[in-house]
Symmetry: C2
Subunit: 205 residues, 2 copies
């Protein structure tokens, strides 16, 4: 009785098709301009069909946000080859900022938008993707502590402080709050601010 399994496969395939179309439109036009009807048009199905595979729009965007986290975690992979824990930490921050810069919509979905968080709130679930990603950071910070490169003993606290700084840079940039520095200077100033941060924690953390 392989029929049930085929049905399951077809269901997965359909979810994949919807997410693919959603992602495409999302990256092309930005979140605000993508509607359920647009997505339905793209895959040549009725809008109502999408609701057979996703509870609502929040859940659809939550699924997209999960994909984006897989991408980010992948981009973190190369840091393993670096020599010292402190170099790993520095490169991780740089990768976080670069990810935000090169994938603004994905970053928005992962760390700024409300929709994905609203999706898991009603399911009273934990935010697993975020937890895993932070764990990667926290582990590197712990390495820094163990090797003596960081003196402060609490990896979670230090990790949050570091996350906040790089996230702040990325978020202020993406939400256009850096326009006060001028269109051409804001990117370099952002990089300089991050360099200064790295230099500071190397000395004082």
């Amino acid at each position: 009785m392989g029929i049930l399994e085929r049905k399951e496969r077809e269901r997965e395939e359909m979810r994949r098709l919807i997410l693919e179309a959603a992602q495409k439109l999302f990256l092309a036009n930005g979140y605000e301009k993508v509607s359920i009807r647009n997505i339905a048009d793209e895959i040549e199905y009725s809008p109502a069909t999408i609701y057979l595979y996703f509870k609502d729009k929040n859940e659809l965007f939550f699924a997209l946000h999960q994909q984006a986290f897989r991408k980010l975690i992948n981009e973190f992979a190369p840091i393993a080859h670096l020599q010292t824990p402190m170099d790993k930490l520095e490169e991780m921050g740089r990768l976080y900022i670069r990810f935000a810069f090169e994938n603004p919509e994905l970053f928005d979905l992962m760390f700024i938008m409300n929709a994905p968080m609203d999706a898991i709130e009603c399911r009273e679930d934990i935010w697993d993707d975020g937890h895993q990603a932070f764990q990667v950071l926290q582990n590197v910070v712990q390495e820094c502590i163990d090797s003596g490169a960081i003196q402060h003993p609490d990896a979670e606290r230090a990790g949050l402080m570091i996350w906040s700084t790089v996230h702040g840079l990325a978020a202020l940039f993406l939400r256009k709050r850096m326009m006060i520095f001028g269109e051409e200077r804001k990117k370099t100033l952002m990089d300089e601010a991050y360099d200064l941060f790295v230099q500071t924690i190397r000395k004082g953390l």
Copy 2:
């Protein structure tokens, strides 16, 4: 010929009335649940009337965002009484975070939402409120540099780094990305992370 002036006064009064109603509904129900029709109902006018005083919804929320900036700048005022520049800097960060915590909707409007920035983009204007607020920070940083409390010479660069950290903490908190730390621990962890940041820049910046 005081008629023109009275007309002007009435016009200002009407704008004030609209903004007051919008602010009230905004704080009560959150941005996402406030529509032009709600605001019109609140002041007992037709929805179309609002468009006689504001170009569109973005411009209305831009005006609200200006009010919010006046409030924030006011809350920064007491730092003038503090002794050392470094104490001023520390207290400013704390005030920024507290402002976000106690006025989540206003903070969102000022530093996260797209709407207010979209309003000035088409007017190709500069973001004056943000510029002024950052200037306040930058001045304090410059004091720290002049007094030798901060060694790095560039106040703008250091200011952006500091702004990013406190903003990152506030933004991650408000957009519910700190749920990974647990409901009861996230607020204290946030404060601890800020303390650690202050300690770090006192040592290494």
